[in-house]
């Protein structure tokens, strides 16, 4: 039978595709490591930059990034969770409210980040008078990541098994009680995963932060101070500072490590959650 010969063409084609996909990506990570690993030490993570960033470290940048993320999360967790709870508790999925929310959030999710940069700059920095600040940056990022947060929380809530809902109803729990004691605990890992995903998305943003949080290299004194995020630092070092390439690579490695850790964390959490809540019948 010539069956295996039938598959030669397909096998070659797909393997070529496979290799073409994997090789450049691995190459990229290796090149980054080669350029950035030497000099990557604890000092680097903690010290302040000097010589326009060519020497010293990225301490203030890490702090700024953390603060920006903090502002962003403080905004999207209540609003995002609240919205998804509203959607799952009070409106049917075919109502006009649900449709509008779904539609407008989808549009927001698909909007190019540069548009958010324009919006954030004009609205938060200028109109609201926040200037280049951590607050402006965090709030703009919140607008960008809200759709993701709502979508993942909604999925997590919807995945709560029917049996738990029924148990709550049988016990005549009040709605707040039901949400607090039954739904949220069951959906929590999914919600946390969604939060972490939003963090990942926010970490990756550069253009937006360039025009809302600014690029001051100092340690920010307050939320109204300008601060430079890690991604902005990479950009500046690579494009505007001669000889800044090694620092850029090093910072990129730090950022990459954060992304990897986030990814692994989310994955682990979801797996663990599945094991506890959904595989009890086994």
């Amino acid at each position: 039978m010539t069956i295996d010969r039938r598959d030669y063409g397909g096998f070659v084609l797909c393997s070529v595709a496979g290799i073409t996909v994997i090789v450049p990506l691995v190459w990229m990570i290796l090149a980054l490591a080669q350029s950035g690993l030497p000099g990557l030490e604890w000092e680097f993570l903690v010290a302040a930059p000097s010589q326009s960033g060519r020497a010293g470290g990225i301490g203030p940048m890490i702090v700024s990034t953390a603060l920006i993320l903090g502002v962003c999360l403080a905004a999207i967790i209540p609003v995002g969770l609240g919205t998804s709870l509203y959607l799952s508790q009070y409106v049917s999925s075919t109502s006009p409210q649900a449709s509008w929310l779904g539609y407008s959030l989808d549009v927001l999710a698909g909007t190019p980040s540069i548009v958010f940069a324009l919006f954030g700059y004009q609205f938060f920095a200028i109109t609201l008078g926040l200037g280049f600040s951590i607050l402006a940056g965090g709030l703009t990022l919140a607008c960008m990541t809200l759709p993701l947060m709502v979508r993942t929380s909604e999925q997590a809530l919807r995945a709560v098994p029917l049996e738990l809902h029924q148990a709550g109803e049988a016990l005549a729990l009040s709605r707040p009680g039901m949400i607090w004691h039954v739904l949220l605990p069951a959906a929590m890992p999914g919600i946390v995963a969604g939060t972490i995903l939003s963090i990942g998305r926010a970490l990756a943003e550069t253009a937006v932060l360039l025009f809302t949080a600014g690029y001051v290299m100092r340690l920010p004194g307050s939320l109204l101070d300008s601060g430079r995020a890690l991604s902005v630092h990479i950009f500046d070092m690579a494009m505007n500072v001669p000889g800044g390439m090694p620092v850029a690579s090093r910072t990129a490695l730090v950022l990459l490590t954060l992304v990897i850790l986030i990814n692994i964390g989310v994955r682990r959490m979801l797996l663990h959650h599945k094991r506890i809540y959904y595989e009890q019948t086994n």
Partner: protein, 278 residues
């Protein structure tokens, strides 16, 4: 009344053509078969023999490894990681487990029908043409001829001959399952494995399929997993009773229909057949 007779006639014609081609259905023999997924055993030490040209029903409660056993015969278990098979399965003289056996050839000789009808998302004709083409039949005339032959054999030809190009997914459940059987028959197998072929169908469709299976017995060797004891009583020539012992499947008894349903001495068999257990 009339419809049933004509379907039977069609199948008999198909059978006659095949008997003329001088092929006798092979004997399938399983000795000491054990299937492990990782560290869990699905079934251990199963032994049974299916004489050529007859139907062996595998009965027993869910989870006793009947499907795992079936999957070994056409080596569908190969695709599952971590699956270990011990024991011997032979089709006449062919050792199925032998590494030198061409699996694709094996699966042409051993056809399989699944519990859920699963026609491809193609037209009715394409569902049959496609596997044939994959196995080397390319001439249009030949493809059409074989398609008509198998559709006739399962009694679908009259129902679909005017809409061969319409989607297979537009057929009813019973029709889809018959199409799946036709598809399996198109490769001209010698052995047919059926995994609860009627459990997703309504009683009328079930009846049609059972009649079809009866007619197929004449030139194929069939193994059918079923939950339905009444069905086994109706169509099977031989029966194997499976059971679960300490979380693992096993074969309790195997033999002719009479010896299982009427003359059995084994307590589990008797209890199962009476409906006391399982």
């Amino acid at each position: 009344m009339n419809r049933r007779i004509s379907m039977s006639d069609n199948a008999t014609t198909f059978a006659n053509e095949h008997t003329q081609s001088n092929r006798t259905a092979p004997e399938v023999s399983i000795v000491g078969l054990s299937v492990y997924y990782g560290n869990t055993a699905a079934i251990t030490n199963a032994t049974l023999t299916v004489p050529g040209g007859s139907l062996m029903a595998l009965v027993g409660p869910s989870g006793c490894g009947k499907t795992s056993l079936l999957n070994c015969i056409n080596r569908m278990n190969d695709t599952i990681a971590d699956c270990r098979v011990e024991g011997r399965i032979t089709i006449d003289d062919l050792d199925v487990q032998d590494p030198s056996v061409d699996v694709n050839l094996l699966r042409q000789r051993v056809g399989m029908v699944f519990q859920q009808p699963n026609p491809f998302p193609l037209s009715i004709a394409e569902n049959i043409h496609f596997p044939l083409r994959e196995h080397g039949v390319h001439r249009r005339a030949e493809l059409d001829k074989r398609t008509m032959k198998v559709l006739n054999a399962v009694g679908l030809w009259d129902e679909v001959k005017d809409r061969l190009r319409s989607s297979a997914l537009s057929l009813s459940g019973g029709q889809q399952q018959r199409l799946c059987i036709a598809r399996a028959l198109a490769l001209e197998p010698e052995v047919l494995l059926l995994d609860e072929p009627c459990s997703a169908l309504d009683p009328l469709a079930t009846e049609q399929i059972e009649r079809l299976i009866e007619d197929l017995k004449q030139q194929y060797t069939l193994l059918m997993v079923t939950h339905n004891l009444a069905q086994a009583r109706r169509v099977a020539d031989h029966v194997t009773v499976c059971w679960i012992d300490e979380n693992c499947g096993c074969v309790v008894e195997s033999g002719s229909r009479e010896s299982i349903f009427i003359n059995s001495d084994h307590p589990v068999t008797k209890a199962y057949c009476r409906g006391d257990k399982g």
